[in-house]
Symmetry: C2
Subunit: 245 residues, 2 copies
DNA sequence: CTTTGTGAATATTTTCACAGCT
DNA sequence: AGCTGTGAAAATATTCACAAAG
């Protein structure tokens, strides 16, 4: 087996990879920060706030306020000088940019502990990602209920995905089965795969593969742990000094 | 409750945030890519390869080969021209940079489905993150076994963490309890917190808070889904064209 | 006084392209 | 041939600093 793939998980621009695309598009970094802003906004809205400044958001999510303001300008200029941004409006704006509205149905494969944990978690449906089908390969589990779903035979996955119009697949199976499951998802017309199995899988390059490997994330952390005892963290608050001469 | 925090999850340089630090340090982006390289290397080693080129790694992880080569130069120059890199050596090199060797003991809080899934997952211990204690607040669970551990009362967490020298805390509890757990971890001297609860928590700024929110990651994906049907993905292979005049 | 929006200045990252080693 | 290591260029991202607006 030669090593030759096109896994492509870490691109950098929205438009295209070519060096000289005019790039009228939104920088990837902005898109990456948007969900954090959204999370922050939803949380402060719950606390009763109606309005928020870039400085406040910055304190929350650890981003320089000027950068936040510039991020927002990619989508227009709302926000009142001297006041800040209307939280409701900002939320719907960001949701609009991220393309909310379309529902993206999820197929969950793997009814083990992890699968059950994902089912429990209401964050997915709350944000427009309803789980609509659950699969497993274990005859013991097939036919039983998990959450409000009957666990289906994984062999029916491609057909079921097509029939139900499922576009997002979540892999929560052991590493050894992950590639097989991914292949079936591809056959079923998946557009996005969220892989929780601790193994690299290969998919055609028009499919967005998201790897969620806590170990990888922890390894990254390790580096900061071993330096000077000082972990990575920005003292962002040294910013926006306003000098009044 | 006023909005004023210092959550600081998204910094950009290893050294310090100040604009003009001489910055002899490794760019954060490099450190972020290292675990992917490592994962790739470990996997190809298992497949029996001894040597690998930047181009091959690039195909695997979706990074431009030139960038990979430059990343490596931050840690020295190994790698044979015309051949590539020795996989074993490269692995140990990266592990060295990331600071392997020190074990980082983990306390897991939350013995629900998610906690059980994390326990199952052998990736953590395999990479030097052994789980050494599990906590819960449910009297029904306390005293019972999970994996090979007796579930402890979460109220003993600070003391136990100190006694066992635990530096990493994993939060796998409902959102409503997350902040309380985080506070106890801080009291116990935690250095890194991995938060799986779907809520933002605040910690002192010398503690590395890692948020693992699959929704946030999916939201980001959404954006790419809605553009032109073309999901983000680099056709990296249009690169390193070697023109021979 | 507060805070946005933004040109301009900086800083950083990524990529190209090729000399040089095997 | 095949590949690394790296200056130099290009592309991006971040931050400063301030005029204008509420």
């Amino acid at each position: 087996m030669p090593v030759e793939f096109n896994n492509t998980v870490g691109a950098k621009e929205v438009t295209l990879m070519k060096p000289n695309t005019p790039s009228p598009s939104v920088p990837d970094g902005v898109i990456e920060r948007l969900p954090s802003y959204l999370e922050c906004l939803i949380q402060v809205r719950q606390e009763g706030l109606r309005t928020i400044s870039s400085q406040q958001i910055g304190g929350y999510v650890g981003v320089n306020p000027a950068e936040i303001r510039r991020d927002f300008t990619y989508f227009g200029t709302f926000g009142k000088k001297g006041v800040g941004y209307n939280i409701d409006y900002l939320i719907s704006k960001i949701q609009g940019v991220l393309g909310f509205g379309e529902e993206h149905k999820i197929a969950l494969v793997g009814a083990g502990n992890l699968g059950r944990a994902i089912c429990d978690y209401d964050g997915l449906p709350r944000h427009g990602f309803p789980i609509v089908a659950i699969f497993d390969s274990d005859p013991q589990k097939i036919g039983k209920k998990l959450d409000k779903f009957i666990i289906r035979d994984v062999r029916t996955l491609p057909k079921t995905m097509k029939r139900l119009g499922i576009t997002v697949g979540v892999i929560a199976v052991p590493a050894s089965a992950a590639q097989k499951v991914a292949d079936m998802m591809v056959e079923g017309g998946v557009k996005v795969i969220l892989n929780y199995a601790p193994i690299m899988i290969q998919v055609p390059e028009n499919i967005y593969l998201h790897i969620t490997d806590p170990v990888k994330e922890l390894l990254h952390t390790l580096y900061y742990l071993s330096r000077t005892g000082r972990t990575r963290s920005s003292s962002i608050m040294e910013k926006e000094k306003v000098f009044t001469t």
